[in-house]
């Protein structure tokens, strides 16, 4: 039940875009049409769902203080958490590479849809952000961590598809010239964020 709560919280209450502004760069750059937005959003769900549990295992069996106890009692005092940034980003970069190769081999159709977006994702803040939030919040089990990863991914997907849909329609409206493009997108995201704040404070 806890896992379901974390999943729903990740989508609405703690939305990656509207509450933490993570992954804004690609959110602004790739939201001009709904089709590409759906592709990138799906790739983010996919990669977050894979990298968060892997980084969870890394955190709990290698990095945290006392995490190496499974090697023997004499390792109990070792604290490797200063290595976490380097290891997390290495896991993310290599997983993205691996996922790209596996998808290309087994599902060329999916590769055609996600292909160009996968390399972009290695430097998407929301992926590393997912790993760092997982570290900070100390989830109880790998199941909780996975549902947090998937929930955040779905939240990000929802946000980028919504803004892309609005921007497609925006072409027909009369925006003041200096606000065209980037400026109006910022203000729209702010307004959407206000709407999402209605979910704030919901206890699950």
């Amino acid at each position: 039940m806890e896992a379901v709560n974390i999943f729903i919280k990740g989508i609405f209450v703690e939305n990656m875009i509207f509450a933490y502004f993570l992954g804004m760069c690609s959110y602004l750059a790739v939201s001009k049409t709904v089709k590409t937005a759906v592709g990138l959003g799906a790739a983010v769900i996919f990669v977050l769902g894979i990298t968060v549990p892997i980084n969870y295992l890394l955190e709990n069996y290698v990095l945290k203080e006392g995490a190496l106890t499974w090697l023997g009692a004499e390792y109990a005092s070792i604290d490797l958490s200063f290595l976490s940034f380097i290891l997390f980003i290495a896991v993310i970069a290599s997983m993205v590479q691996l996922v790209e190769m596996v998808v290309e081999r087994f599902s060329p159709a999916l590769y055609g849809a996600l292909g160009i977006f996968l390399p972009l994702i290695a430097v998407n803040c929301s992926i590393l952000g997912g790993a760092l939030f997982m570290q900070e919040r100390q989830y109880a089990s790998i199941g909780d961590a996975t549902s947090f990863g998937l929930g955040s991914g779905v939240g990000w997907f929802l946000a980028i598809v919504a803004i892309a849909a609005i921007r497609e329609k925006l072409q027909y409206s009369n925006v003041p010239a200096p606000l065209k493009g980037l400026g109006i997108t910022f203000i729209l995201t702010g307004l959407m964020g206000m709407a999402f704040m209605a979910f704030m404070g919901i206890e699950l």
Partner: protein
Amino acid sequence: MSEVAVEKVEIEKAPKEPLFSTKNKKLITDPLNENNPITIQVLGICSALAITVQVKQAVFMSLSVLVVLMAGNWIISALRNLIPNRIRIIVQLVVVATLVTLVDLALKAYVPDVSEKLSVFVGLIITNCIIMGRFEAFAMGNRKWPSVLDALGNGLGYAWILIAVAVVREVFGSGKFWGFQLIPDSWMMANGGFYMNNNLMILPPMALITVGVIIWIQRARNTNLIES
């Protein structure tokens, strides 16, 4: 032997530039306005918005980014001929991750209260697009000194937007500047006064709208920047 000779000739031929030539000065001044990393290049927005509730956090965040960017640009520029093209992203990520770890530990040691507030956003400097963007676009193809200047310019361009947003949000949102009370307590509605802080300013959506307004002002003043 002949190759060495050729290189030497080239070095002798290259005219010695003064440290702050017009071209080098442009590297610093351009990113402050016409080529600003946040409002024009749309890089590094993720971290720019989340930590602008207070001026103090914003100053420390921009200092961290400035340090990482300058050191990283210098290192990448020094290594640029040694890095194989295929694995350059991973090399760049390792350089940034190492520098960010150092900055994070320094913040934890000297300003623990700020470090706690910045939480995951220090770590997220690694994936800050400004850093990777400047490595790819500038440091991989230029000498060390111009690269450091380019980093300085872009870091300052990032910093002024961050601090401007933070000043607006802190002054109107909590009536303070760098933690000092600007509005006397007796003015507050709670104490029978007429003033009330705008709590909406502290919440995430207003950061986006403030940046949107800065973009609006900048482009209205400089019409070359308007998108078609």
